[in-house]
Symmetry: C2
Subunit: 328 residues, 2 copies
């Protein structure tokens, strides 16, 4: 039997604890357009019995990585990894002392390296990403994420992730979405840390890849990374990668550059409710401001198409109360 | 307050309902070695706090499809699909009347088609699997699974799945495993029906693939299937596919032929508790009996290695009480 007065006590307890719904799932987003659009979209597709309802199995959300989940200035972080790796490997390659682009790189002349264009960069990536097993490569990447520091912030690269996007990933997963990375970055580079940083398991990371080859060694089978591209997950490659690796069309996609345009178009072309989002880097004070003329993360055609088609463009400066977890 | 006698009523109810644990999760498996090994393995890796415990995220299980989850005689079912499709497409290809291997095929002379070897088969597969969009192909496959019937049993091909393996898939999933198909079969062919038949979603199906290309049409973007191989998920390709698509090493793998040997070796080479299984087709009465000399699903080297290394070999005749869902 309840004693008299119990009801009052219960009411007091209920009043003291804030209702769960009052906790803002997107606390680092201002109450501006993008946040409202996201909340409305998720509300619609998860409302059982509504015309817009989407079964959990179909709630596929795909995110670009560079410039969308983590920063990408002053250069793609994977390129920073490759450059650091050249220095580590230099003692094993005495020929690099006289051979470009290594000579310039080891002399600290990054400008000369970049002047060599894509050819130089591809050569550096192959020299630093291939020739070892998949397990060795994962270890190398993990070690790098622990020690390397971003030149501007002094933080680990894996800390330079966008707090509002971490909240969005978690919010979507709590609402039955399966969150995927679909990025031009290397798939094995990202998998080495994506689960710890984003809560996205390896099997939900789609990225560019080099060829791997099975080799039987006395100690057992290994997969050797070869210096040859297998798949470029960028631009028109993104719908191809989504189809070949995921096999379902996303109902939500987020990108930030022209390399994401086809992924956004592919997502938009499906039936039913859709969400297409673009992170627009507008915040020179807290991060960087760049778009149409940037060499990294160029956003031009996709920005025009977003405007024309009413996709959600996140103005980082206006729409995010916080950028990185470590600072406002 | 409970009334006197309540406790007795509660006990009666508990006695009347069988305890959940008493329901056999592998009811179509005899209480022979393989079943015991499976139950012991799953018990070990899911026992929290034990030395063999494996976190749910790492509980990756991979299954071959042809001859492991569904039957594969008298020919791979996907080849039956391709042959049926030649007949459907023949009116659009008048040249096939005089052109091999189509001429023989349309005349019903399968022997002459098969005499053409791999070259003929690849040509037939390309002619029947490419030239349409990914969505059109999925529809074509789904229509075929509804209407086509197996020449021996008269059942739909998608009914010729192994009941014991369906139970195993469900049992593993209830124990926190993520179940994947890793098959030499076409990934888009399998995805068209794998979720309905096995409960395995598209993003957990790894298979062979042809090239797809993004094409912008006035009605929107499509992915066009091109007559060119992109990836062969067989033999040494299986560890490559597991690594590129899943990105984690399985702790359990099941196959039935030499094409699965490298997947089993790759699985065995990981640290901690492992389960490697082979379905051995020993039952000429309920299914088919074949192994070392079969043209379909040849099991020779993998059978020797299984014996040498103590992997689990399922003797279909002795170890399964039921083969297909529709019959014992």
């Amino acid at each position: 039997m309840l004693k008299p007065g119990t009801r009052l006590v219960t009411l007091l307890i209920l009043t003291a604890a804030p209702p769960v719904a009052a906790q803002d799932p997107l606390a680092s987003w201002n109450d501006t357009g993008p946040k409202k659009t996201i909340l409305e979209f998720v509300g619609k597709v998860t409302k059982s019995g509504s015309a817009d309802f989407v079964a959990p199995a179909e709630r596929i959300a795909t995110f670009d990585n560079d410039g969308c989940l983590w920063a990408e200035q002053p250069m793609y972080f994977q390129l920073a990894f490759a450059l650091d790796r050249v220095k580590v490997l230099a003692p094993q390659h005495p020929e690099w002392k006289t051979q470009e682009p290594y000579k310039s790189l080891l002399a600290g002349d990054l400008k000369a390296v970049l002047a060599g264009g894509e050819k130089s960069l591809v050569e550096i990536v192959m020299a630093t990403h291939a020739g070892i097993t998949t397990e060795e490569f994962a270890t190398v990447v993990q070690e790098w994420t622990k020690t390397a520091r971003h030149p501007k912030t002094g933080h680990a690269y894996t800390e330079m992730v966008y707090q509002p996007m971490l909240e969005l990933l978690a919010f979507l997963r709590r609402n039955g979405f399966k969150t995927f990375i679909v990025s031009g970055g290397g798939v094995e580079f990202m998998r080495a840390w994506a689960e710890g940083v984003y809560g996205i398991p390896p099997e939900q990371v789609v990225g560019s890849a080099i060829v791997t080859k099975l080799e039987m060694r006395p100690t057992g089978p290994v997969l050797l990374r070869e210096p040859k591209m297998d798949f470029v997950d960028d631009g028109p490659g993104k719908p191809v990668g989504i189809n070949s690796r995921i096999g379902r069309r996303p109902i939500l996609a987020f990108g930030n550059s022209d390399g994401d345009l086809q992924m956004l178009q592919w997502t938009a072309a499906g039936a039913g409710e859709r969400f297409m989002g673009i992170v627009h880097h507008t915040d020179a004070a807290r991060e960087w401001a760049y778009d149409r003329t940037s060499h990294v993360g160029k956003l031009d055609k996709a920005l025009d198409e977003a405007t024309a088609r009413g996709w959600t463009v996140v103005d980082m400066k206006a729409d995010w109360t916080r950028v990185f977890p470590f600072t406002r």
